[in-house]
């Protein structure tokens, strides 16, 4: 019997299925008197060969992508404890309200009068993010976390240029840092120095001190760090860095741990990005779109990319609410008794300039805004509490079975290790991860952070129920047992997924990066 749950679930490419002459959508004909195209385009080079787009009917296309969707794991199908990624539940109402015609049809070059609804939303979202981070002003332009990082580091560069620090050429990052931090620094023209973490998995003050110099432009860190540990010396870290004339960049990927509990602004951060697609529940879409708003302290505010969203009272005087440690503004004004008017402020002479077209991933901002309204201040605080509790619960329950290099109170995530399994049974972190997939649960992040061997970085998020957490523990315990009793089951995993392990070497050796008619 050759039956196989997998094979029948796989799907050819649209290009494989394409058959000449078929089509999906129909398009209105011109309906106006017009010369032939060749005449209208006289003087332009024309395409000589039609593009080989798929030729398929709408029913076939719908079936194709519906079937493809069944090959994915997703938050809506099961737990997704991918460390550093905050795969929390993405509320359906957020997607729904973002589909309103008034949002989707709005063209970015319509007048500000036409766009008051969206501008108000963006302004309010900015305010809420400032409250959460304790910063002074924010740009909503960046499309993702790494994009925010680039903006932040470019602003730091501009700040140093204007403040006698043009010769500062180095950015310091802990060795536990996410790859984007280092890549960002390079992309912004900086050298990168990695700080070795302490035995406790934290920044070592002495190491930091010895690396800080008049060459240091910035320290980039995330807190809690990628081990899920809060940098307990954070105030000393930012003090030392500032003392050295450098600024501190806060990678807000882990903000989900501390909402209502602590504010990057209070820690002394100069620049903070947030990942709305993590902390603020917008769907990650299999790799975006996200949004990486960037909030800054007062002295960096002039450098923010233009335009910013501004609020004016009816007499057109600019107004602003802030909540920043430096008291950069007069504090909250009362809420719109007099019909405030929102606008785009382009008049920012020190701005580093824009980092994308238009104003940001507005559709993502809408979702995050709805999320904040739903949760409220209490809800966000509770979310962080539950996220931290869930991580500690898993850590506690797994600590007998897996090595946990820093087995003390963690924040929203923690890093376990499969080194014991590796040593005793040959089963590596990758194998554990693959075997988890067989249980309808996504794997943790593996082999990151780099400083933990055989790392399994686990972030359950607050939207995982106790029953879900217990089931996850059972899975991991069972895999450990399997590793000892029948390791080949684990090293051969996954067994029930649509495909088995792909041959990565083959993929990289002779890359096939697009369909070709002969490889169908």
């Amino acid at each position: 019997m050759t039956d196989d749950c997998r094979g029948s679930r796989l799907e050819p490419l649209t290009f494989d299925r394409s058959r000449p002459g078929h089509r999906g959508a129909t398009v209105p004909t011109a309906g106006v008197p017009a010369a032939p195209i060749a005449h209208l385009l006289a003087g332009a080079s024309l395409r000589t060969r039609p593009p080989a787009l798929p030729e398929l009917s709408e029913p076939e296309i719908v079936r194709h992508y519906t079937r493809l969707s069944h090959l994915n794991h997703s938050v809506d199908l099961g737990m997704y404890p991918l460390g550093s990624c905050t795969m929390k539940y993405n509320p359906k109402i957020n997607d729904e309200v973002a589909q309103a015609r008034g949002f989707t049809d709005l063209h970015p070059y319509q007048t500000e009068d036409d766009a008051q609804g969206t501008l108000e939303l963006m302004w309010e979202l900015e305010q809420a993010l400032l409250v959460v981070t304790g910063m002074c002003r924010a740009t909503l332009q960046p499309a993702a976390g790494a994009h925010g990082e680039l903006v932040g580091i470019l602003m730091i560069r501009a700040f140093h240029r204007d403040n006698g620090g043009a010769s500062r050429d180095t950015v310091i990052v802990p060795d536990s840092a996410h790859g984007t931090n280092l890549a960002t620094a390079t992309m912004a023209g900086y050298k990168v120095v990695e700080l070795k973490s302490s035995d406790r998995g934290l920044i070592d003050l002495d190491t930091l001190r010895s690396n800080l110099s008049e060459k240091t432009a910035a320290l980039m860190l995330t807190n809690p760090n990628t081990l899920g540990l809060f940098e307990e010396d954070i105030l000393e870290i930012t003090r030392l860095t500032h003392e050295a004339g450098a600024l501190v960049y806060y990678d807000g990927a882990n903000l989900n741990a501390i909402m209502g509990k602590a504010r990057p602004g209070d820690m002394g951060m100069d620049v903070v990005h947030m990942n709305l697609h993590k902390t603020f529940s917008t769907p990650h879409g299999g790799g975006g779109p996200g949004a990486g708003p960037l909030a800054v302290c007062a002295r960096l505010e002039p450098y923010l990319p233009a335009p910013l969203v501004s609020r004016r009272d009816p007499n057109e005087a600019p107004m602003r609410r802030a909540d920043c440690r430096e008291g950069c503004a007069s504090g909250p004004d009362d809420d719109g008794a007099c019909c405030p008017r929102f606008g785009l402020d382009y008049d920012r002479p020190a701005s580093i300039g824009r980092v994308r077209g238009f104003y940001g991933n507005v559709g993502v901002l809408e979702r995050a805004y709805a999320y904040i309204l739903s949760m409220g201040g209490d809800g966000l605080t509770q979310a962080s509490e539950d996220a931290v509790m869930n991580a500690n619960y898993l850590r506690t329950r797994l600590s007998g079975t897996y090595d946990i290099p820093h087995d003390r109170l963690c924040m929203h995530e923690f890093v376990a290790s499969a080194s014991r399994q590796k040593r005793d049974t040959g089963v590596a972190a990758r194998d554990v991860a693959k075997r988890i997939l067989d249980h309808g649960v996504h794997a943790p992040t593996i082999y990151f952070p780099l400083i933990v061997p055989e790392a399994l970085m686990i972030e359950p998020t607050e939207t995982e129920s106790l029953a879900g957490l217990d089931a996850f523990v059972d899975i991991l315990v069972a895999i450990d047992r399997e590793a000892h009793e029948s390791p080949e089951v684990v090293t051969g995993a996954p067994h029930t997924t649509p495909i088995r392990r792909p041959d990565e070497t083959r993929a990289a050796r002779d890359p096939m990066l697009r369909w070709r008619s002969d490889t169908g």
Binding site: L41, F358, Q382
Partner: protein
């Protein structure tokens, strides 16, 4: 707070198992002086109230349907319902980047289809999994050229969208790449081919096709000049025209970038869309961003996986080709599906309808007294007209008559105050075009005084 999943009883039980006396105990790693107890935000709301609030904001926006003629890099194109229905499937929407290929073939395969689609439309052999948007993709294209050529000069055509030019400058400010403009021929509106002196030391020549003013560039001479000087030609391509115009790869471009927006992604006040980047084979190792490749699984089945990751930040860290991590996968999927629904025939027909209507409107408008064409180069679905009045005032008048007639270009450059950039697509019916012409005739007959808004 309906997204929280624990009861207080759950929490008590969990704390007990953790061995913590209270939730506060869990936060003891945070220095006491940093600890806050609450957020100064309003309390949470039931979903019905959230829906009412956000919907009321949407309703506070004014939109113009088929009476909008705004383009300038963002186009009103009808997106078929199947696109929304399929991209809305939570298996696509609520997945992360496909790090575990065994449970991510859905995402991996649609990215592979996207790469193929972009490769076909650009006629370049390799395309990546998407970039943030067209403007940042252009900047990344310049960086790619700089890395490849080990040079630093970036020449940007004045026909590139002003915002994209600004983004190139912002990005270039980090490594300090010098950026200079290439002028347009004032009558044709096409980029003047730079001479060898101008090109000396240049890593890249950046142009847009059709350009910001809607004019179709003649790319071949630009490619030749760039190549002769050892620079790469990076073309920012509007895919709307891709069914009819010569694709960048056909006319010598080394890199093509752009934004998929016209396909699958409604204007939405400027985002999210998805940038794309395609290049000739020789630049693949310099490509930023994710790439999906085809391979076989352990049982020999064709499958897909992220590949050539040694270019990327999570492997190469400080030496990566870019810092990009999350891109715009779901927007790219929307474009892939929309383009699959159109197919080559639909894409061509869509272009043909856009062209015919745009040329009809152009003709009718430039027949009006005092209205002239800003350039005489060939155009696709977008063109600039020169008005006898401030274009913003003219637009204001037309808006009062129910037509949003285009983008007044004074917002980008005071020198362009009399210019209006008009985009026409298949959503603007012949009736809408005639309504526009009537309103314009009316407005020109009774000019306005002051601008109320930019």
């Amino acid at each position: 707070m309906s997204y929280l999943v624990h009861t207080d009883a759950d929490r008590a039980l969990m704390l007990r198992r953790i061995g913590a006396a209270s939730v506060d105990d869990l936060f003891t790693p945070i220095p006491r002086e940093l600890r806050t107890t609450a957020l100064d935000l309003p309390p949470g709301s039931p979903e019905s109230e959230v829906a009412a609030r956000v919907t009321s904001l949407a309703e506070r926006n004014r939109t113009w349907g088929s009476r909008s003629f705004l383009g300038a890099g963002c186009y009103h194109i009808y997106v078929p319902a199947a696109v929304r229905s399929l991209t809305g499937r939570s298996e696509f929407a609520t997945a992360y980047t496909p790090y575990q290929p065994e449970v991510s073939q859905g995402t991996l395969q649609h990215i592979f289809e996207f790469q193929t689609t972009i490769s076909e439309l650009t006629e370049l052999p390799v395309a990546n999994a998407s970039m943030y948007d067209g403007a940042s993709a252009l900047a990344e294209g310049a960086f790619l050229a700089a890395r490849h050529t080990s040079r630093d000069g970036i020449l940007v055509s004045a026909g590139v969208h002003p915002e994209a030019r600004e983004v190139v400058r912002t990005y270039a400010s980090g490594p300090g790449l010098p950026v200079a403009d290439l002028a347009l021929d004032p009558s044709s509106g096409r980029t003047l081919v730079p001479d060898a002196a101008r090109l000396e030391g240049a890593a890249a020549v950046l142009v847009q096709q059709p350009n910001f003013f809607g004019i179709i560039e003649d790319l071949e001479p630009l490619a030749e000049a760039a190549h002769a000087a050892g620079a790469l030609l990076v073309v920012s391509q509007n895919l709307l025209a891709a069914g009819l115009l010569a694709p960048p790869g056909q006319v010598g471009a080394d890199v093509a970038v752009g934004d998929v927006q016209p396909f699958g992604n409604p204007p939405n006040y400027g985002g999210p869309f998805a940038g794309f980047m395609a290049c000739a084979d020789s630049y693949v190792r310099q490509l930023p961003g994710r790439l999906v490749g085809e391979t076989l699984d352990a049982d020999g089945r064709r499958c897909f996986t992220l590949t050539m990751q040694a270019r990327e930040q999570h492997i190469r860290r400080a030496k990566a080709t870019s810092n990009i991590c999350s891109n715009q996968a779901l927007c790219a999927l929307a474009a892939t599906i929309h383009l699959a629904l159109l197919g080559p025939t639909g894409l061509r027909e869509l272009g043909a309808t856009c062209i015919a209507r745009a040329h009809y409107l152009h003709q009718r408008l430039t027949e009006l007294p005092g209205v002239s064409s800003a350039h005489d180069g060939p155009f696709f679905n977008e063109f600039a007209i020169r008005l006898p009045v401030d274009a913003a005032l003219f637009a204001e008048s037309l808006r009062e008559l129910g037509v949003d007639p285009g983008v007044p270009l004074g917002r980008f450059d005071p020198a362009w105050t009399p210019l209006l950039l008009v985009a026409v697509t298949e959503i603007n019916s012949p009736r809408d075009l005639d309504a526009y012409v009537d309103a314009a005739a009316d407005a020109l007959a009774h000019p306005k005084e002051a601008v109320h808004d930019r």
